[in-house]
Each structure stands twice: as C-alpha cells, then as structure tokens.
Symmetry: C2
Subunit: 456 residues, 2 copies
C-alpha cells in the first residue's frame, strides 16, 4: 500500500500539537483595532472585562506566534483529537475526477463539529478566573452543545439562547444540550431587554444569531459571576481552532501530498480559519502556494456581497465595533438549513486577510450543496452538516474542473461536522421541497443603511 492509497491518517495523541498558532504574528499588517461603541476610540482590555476573563482578552489582542495550550485543555482534547484526515477514494471515483480529495473531519468530537476546540479552552479559562456561569447563543446548535459539554467538565453553569427558528425545528439539538446539563432558552426570550423588545412586535419571532448574542451578552454583563462565550468571529476563538490545521499539515505530509486548493465553509469563520491559517502561514513563508477559498451561502454572503466596515457583532448594538465584512447587524438571512452560516458579519481577521487577497471567497446556493452532500454520504459514509456541505460542493466544482482539464488537483476540505441533527433538511432535499432562496440586492442594501458611523 503506497501512502496515497491510504484511506485515512490518524495521529497518535502523543503527536497532538501543544500550541495554538496565531496568524496575526505573521501578517504584514495587523487587522484594524476594535472600537468602543460610545467613544469611537480603540477599545482597551477593560472594555471587554464584563464579558471575558483577562486570559482570553490577552489572547484576543496577542501578537505572539504560538500560545501554549494548557495541560487541562490538552487532556480534554485527547478524548477525540487528533481528529482523522481521510482520502475520499470512493467519492473521487463517483465524480470521475483525476483530483485527489482529502478531508479533515471534525465530526468525531463530542458535539459533532469543530466547536469544542474553543469551548473547552473558554470554559477552562473562565473556570480558572472564578467565573460561575457562562451564557451564549447558538444557531444550528453545535456551539451550544459544545459549550454545555465544556461547562459540565469544568463545573460551570451554562445558559444557551437558541435562535428561535432552530429551537422550533431542531428539538434534538436542544435535548442534546440539556443532556450535557445546560439550560436552553428560545431566542428572543422574555429574560432580556433585547428579547422583550422583539417579542413585543412578534411573539413568534424566528430570531437570529445577532439577536441571541444580544441576549447572552446582556445577561452576562449584568452579573459579576457570569461571563459570555462566543463560538466564532473573535481572534481568540479562531486561535483555538488552529489545532485543526496544524494536525492537517502533519497528516498531509504523512499522505505525501500537498494541497492545491483548500476549501471551508464560513459563517463566523472559525472552522475555515482553523484549517486554513496554519496553511496560510506556510503560504506566506513561500513553502506552499495553495488557493484558499471561503465558501458562504448565497443567502448570507458577507464576504462576496457585504461591505468592509465597522459594525456591531450583535443585533442590539451591545458589542464593541469590529471592522469586518458585514451585511449590516440588522440583516436577518432567509431561513436556510445551514443555521451555522446565518451570521451577518465575518471574523475581522478573515475579513482582513480577504482584503489583502490572501484568500478567495465563493457563494453557493443550498440545493447545490445538498446535492453534493448526498453524493458524499453515499460514497464516504458520512452525512455532512449542511454547513460542511458548502465546502463539499465547492470541492465538487474543483473536482469537475479537474476532470475537464485532466489535472490531478489536490483538494483539501474542512469537513466541520456531521449532519445527524439536520436530517429533516436532507428529507426536504430528497423530496424536492428545498428551494434556493433569492435575496434581492435591495434587501442587502437596506440592512447596510444602519451601519454605525465611526469618526476618523
């Protein structure tokens, strides 16, 4: 068996990376500062203290290239890490492509996605700082599940505001979060000012990630023993995910192959960054030269249709201002099945490297993604999460281009998770009920008029 004939490369737990990688250290220019919403001036650590412990704030602004992973966090990671990397032999055959397709699979984690990589770290640092309770939002439910699990391990209470539409459609996710011991609230809820304001207009309001964030932030800021945890977007969250890409570099080397194209789906951006940033480090150093492509849904295309501007991270405008690709903090995307991609903004760090042309972006409709997801399931045996199916569909496009040209393109996919809780979406697709939502240019434009004005 040659290495290229292998089906997978598993690393031993002794080969697991012991540091996170901070891309900021290797960028020619740093990303723009985060601003205080009241003063319009760069926010200091004290502005974040009501929400995060100092250790995480330090990581958020760090320019160190590597940050040690605490032993207690490594100890939990060893439950499922290093995660496997697979060669998609059977899917390649079904596609009839000369391309070689690899996927780094995060679905083996307790929550079934990449999210526990940061949830465990955040729960650890909060517990160490004496915090008693964590609040957070969740859309598709992966993040809420992850934080519930991590909070249980470190003895923290955990309250999750779940986007109303997901709460109604995906009861199994709520049940899984509760099985791990956390409390789930349908968002918008009656428990917060932000929630009550929206419920006054519509008691059945379907919610959004931006709204759920407002609620969780509001509750955390009001209690000195409570802090907030975010599942994507911020630098420290992306940092914690870089263990994925570091493992993937070692696994590609064991396969004896080098990626020409790397694809990952982007909602807030943490799964994409987790795989891509360590490869971007190698690219910036001139050692490899892959195309790195973020894949977003056409219904929420912050990179390809949004503007690069300062905006709030939440609907109510409670967070500091971040310069990022945004569709406007009031934008509520159509209810596609990839709930984890329905966020108005994009990680400031990813927005920054996108502006610098270090990465590309592509927007795809959901039916194309589910078509690719079903073919992937029937050949590789993994039903992908709808979010991950966006990356699979982008890979399928590359594989088809390779078939046309005869080129042996090497494709690496960030397969962020499984779709065990998204089967009603597959049911919709298979029964022909799924449509591609078409968002008008007017609607995209309308939500941008509320962008906050920033002095200077």
């Amino acid at each position: 068996m040659t290495d290229l004939a292998r089906h997978k490369v598993l690393l031993d737990e002794s080969e697991m990376p012991t540091q996170w990688y901070n891309l900021v250290a290797d960028l020619p220019s740093p990303p723009p500062a985060v601003l205080h919403p009241g003063t319009g001036r760069p926010a200091g650590p004290e502005d974040f203290l009501p929400l995060f412990p100092m250790s995480l704030i330090e990581q958020e602004v760090s320019t160190e290239r590597y940050i040690e992973i605490p032993g207690e966090v490594l100890d939990v990671y060893r439950q499922w890490r290093p995660s496997p990397m697979y060669r998609a032999h059977r899917w390649e055959r079904a596609l009839g492509t000369p391309a070689r397709i690899y996927y780094k699979y995060e679905g083996v984690s307790p929550a079934g996605s990449h999210k526990p990589n940061t949830a465990v770290a955040q729960a650890y640092y909060n517990a160490k700082a004496g915090v008693r309770r964590l609040t957070t939002e969740t859309g598709a439910g992966q993040w809420g599940t992850s934080l519930a699990f991590a909070a249980a391990l470190f003895g923290l209470e955990c309250e999750v505001w779940q986007v109303g539409a997901s709460y109604d459609q995906k009861p199994y996710r709520r049940m899984m979060i509760e099985t791990f011991g956390a409390t789930v609230h349908r968002s918008p809820s009656n428990l917060t000012e932000s929630g009550r304001r929206l419920r006054a207009t519509d008691p059945e309001h379907p919610g959004s990630l931006g709204i759920a964030i407002s609620e969780a932030v509001e509750v955390a800021a009001a209690d000195p023993h409570t802090r907030y945890a975010l599942g994507s977007v911020l630098n420290h969250v992306l940092l914690h995910q870089t263990i994925i890409g570091q493992e993937a570099l070692a696994q590609m080397a064991k396969f004896g192959d080098t990626p020409d194209v790397i694809v990952g789906c982007t909602g807030g951006g943490s799964n994409f960054a987790g795989l891509a940033f360590p490869f971007l480090r190698e690219k910036l150093a001139g050692r490899i030269d892959p195309t790195i492509r973020a894949v977003e849904p056409t219904s929420c295309p912050s990179l390809t249709q949004g503007v690069y501007a300062y905006d709030f991270g939440d609907e109510a405008g409670l967070t500091p201002l971040m310069k990022m690709h945004t569709l406007g903090h009031g934008f509520i995307p159509d209810p596609i099945h990839a709930g984890g991609l329905r966020y108005h903004g994009m990680s400031p760090l990813i927005s920054h490297v996108y502006e610098q042309s270090m990465i590309e972006a592509l927007a795809l409709g959901q039916t194309e993604c589910f078509r690719a997801g079903v073919q992937f399931a029937r050949t590789e045996g993994i039903v992908p999460a709808p979010e991950s199916a966006h990356a699979i569909a982008a890979a399928a496009r590359e594989a088809e281009a390779a078939r046309a040209t005869g080129q042996e393109t090497v494709i690496l996919i960030a397969l962020s998770g499984h779709g065990h809780f998204d089967l009603s979406a597959y049911d919709d697709y298979l029964s022909g009920r799924m449509v591609d939502e078409v968002t008008s240019d007017e609607r995209f434009a309308a939500s941008l008029v509320d962008l906050p004005t920033v002095a200077g």
Copy 2:
C-alpha cells in the same frame, strides 16, 4: 505518559485484522442444528437459498477457525476501522472508583454503531452472487441505515421494513436511511401477507422486530433476484462482528491491561459477540479469565427469563427453527427506548455458550441505564445509544462494587453506538417522564405456549 494514562488507543489501518474469528471451531461441543420447520429435521443449505447467497450459508455452518475478509470489504472497513478504544478517565473519577474502565467504541461508523461490520460483508457477498435487491427489518434504525449504506456502495437496491413504533417516533432514522438511498416501509405494511394480517386487527399496529422480519423474508423469498439480510442472531452475522474483539485484544495489549469483566448489551447478540468471542477464545485457551456478561433489558430478558428451546426467528413462523433462549416468537415487548434490544430470541450461538456457563447474563431496567448514560455523556462526551447504555449501567455496577472493595477491577465495555437519534429518550429521562416497564410473569409465560413442537 505511561500507557495506562493514555486516553485512547487508535490502531493504524495496516493493523486491522484481515480474518473473522469463528468461535464454533473452539467450542467443546457445537451448537444444536437448525431445523426445517416442516420436517423437523436438520435444515440443509438448500433450505436457506431463497434467503441468502451460498457464500453466507457456508459461513453460517462453517467450523473453520478463521475466515478471510475479502479485500473489497476490508477496503470499506478502512473508512472507520480500526475503531477506537478509550480509557474512561473522567468517568472513573466521577464514579470515585479504583476500577479502570475501557470502552471499545463502534459509534464512529457510517451508521453510528457496529452494524456496518456485517452489512458491508453481506452486501458484498450478495452483489457478488448477482443479487439485485436486499430486504431487511430495522428496529432502532441502526441496521437499516447500515444496510442502506452498504447496498449503495455495491450497487444494490435496498428495502427496509421499520418497526412501526420506531418509524413513528424516530423520523430522523428513516430520513438517514433514505439519504443513503434505500426505501423505508412502516411495518406492519400493506405490502405483505404477514403485514396485512396484523393491520386487519389494528391499522396502527406498533409492530415488532419479529413482524418486520416476517415481512422482509416474505418479499425476499418471493423474488429470485431478491435476498434477505439479517442484522443479528445468525452465526455469520456474529462472525462478521468479531473484528471488534480482535482489535480490542490488540488495543488492551497496547494499554498494557487485561480485562477482569467484559460487558455488552444483547438484543440479538451480535454486538456482544463481536467484542466477547475473541476474548472467549483466549479464555477457553486458558490465557485470560475474564467474567463475560451479557446485559439485557428487564422488559425483554430472553437469557434470564426465556426458555432454551426451538423457536422461530420471526413472528409469522417463516424462518427455520433455531434452538435459542426465547420469550416466544409472538412476544411483543413493552415499548422501551432501546429498540435494538426488543427481540424475542437470542442468538443460538450465544444461547449455547450461556447454557455451557461460559458467559453470564444480567437484566436491567431502563431508568438505571439512562442515569448511567447521562453521567457517561457528561464526563466522556459521548451520548450513548440506549442499547449501549445497558452495558454502561452494568459497568457502573462493577465500578461501584470495586469502590466498596477497593479492588482495581479492569472493566471493558462494548460501546455499540451513539444516541444521536435517541435524544427524545434522554428528554423523557431528564424530564422525569421515563418509567421502568414491569412485565408480569404471566405475560412471559403466555407467549411461551405457542412454542413450536419439535420431534425427537
């Protein structure tokens, strides 16, 4: 890090066993013959040909110690095998036990359980024999999912009769089977004589595994291009599962430990046999001496409450007669959440070794199992299938006994699958709605009066 401090042992795909192990070769006496239901005489291969290809019939009656796994089957196994073995460090701490607990986890497979180990083999042999369509039954849905996946890989059509109660309560399983490309029928259905007979008395009949088997067998026997596939009970099915225990022996050796107690849940018995039989080989050879314990639900306790007698494998009496522990082929267990354990009989081979006192048996109520399952989830990060939770609860009893005596008991659990499609059961448990069904001795006795009479 000493070996005992490890969290898991992953084997490389090059270390995967290439043979299945046949326990029959090492037994002091063979299990009793299968009988033709009409003549009452030992059934010959020709009696099985309407249902199975000759290659599987040969495996069913083989006395060879090892049977080569075909390369095409190994090729598919490599997708998820060797499966991981974990040390349950965090759960041990939560239990406060000096016991060392290991679990061999089959939930990493495409279906989320051990079932694909035999589904892939059966689909391969059927495809090779020119069969075009497979029929089968499914209860909890693991087996239907597994056969759907395997059939897709080898280009076979697949039709699944799903126990009505499961079909109604677990729509996600139906959707997953369809995502893999198979067709699902609610059982009892209008498509068969067996189904129509029961629907005449109750159009909403909740069904049972025995009924679903009758339907799938009836359809297969009526069409020369269709064969039937069974997910447990039979010798060749147990044979295919023995890859689990062979891997586990290698993994325990890498941990540097030897099990004192091995526990696995039993419905038809294939998951239990898969882990236990290779260890039983070592026990029979005098190299180790573990207690090997089958764990069944109190609502369907074929080993601890059933009789050892010839009975049919299905409700309608279409199958050959097998000598096994049985509650009677007409027994319909209370609707507990562990659908995979609701089968009236026990594998003849397991019944035989139980009769010979090579293994023990224990029946547990479901609330005890879910209590253990929740604690396991919150510490180990895996929400176990309700079936697997029976093994976990039995392990918890051993761990508590070890705490009382101070003994460092080494426990090995067959963790047959995850509970991602069983979260409504956890919801019932957490909200206090779950009860332990109590089946009266009269009800057990009543279903035994219909046991077939066997001459001699």
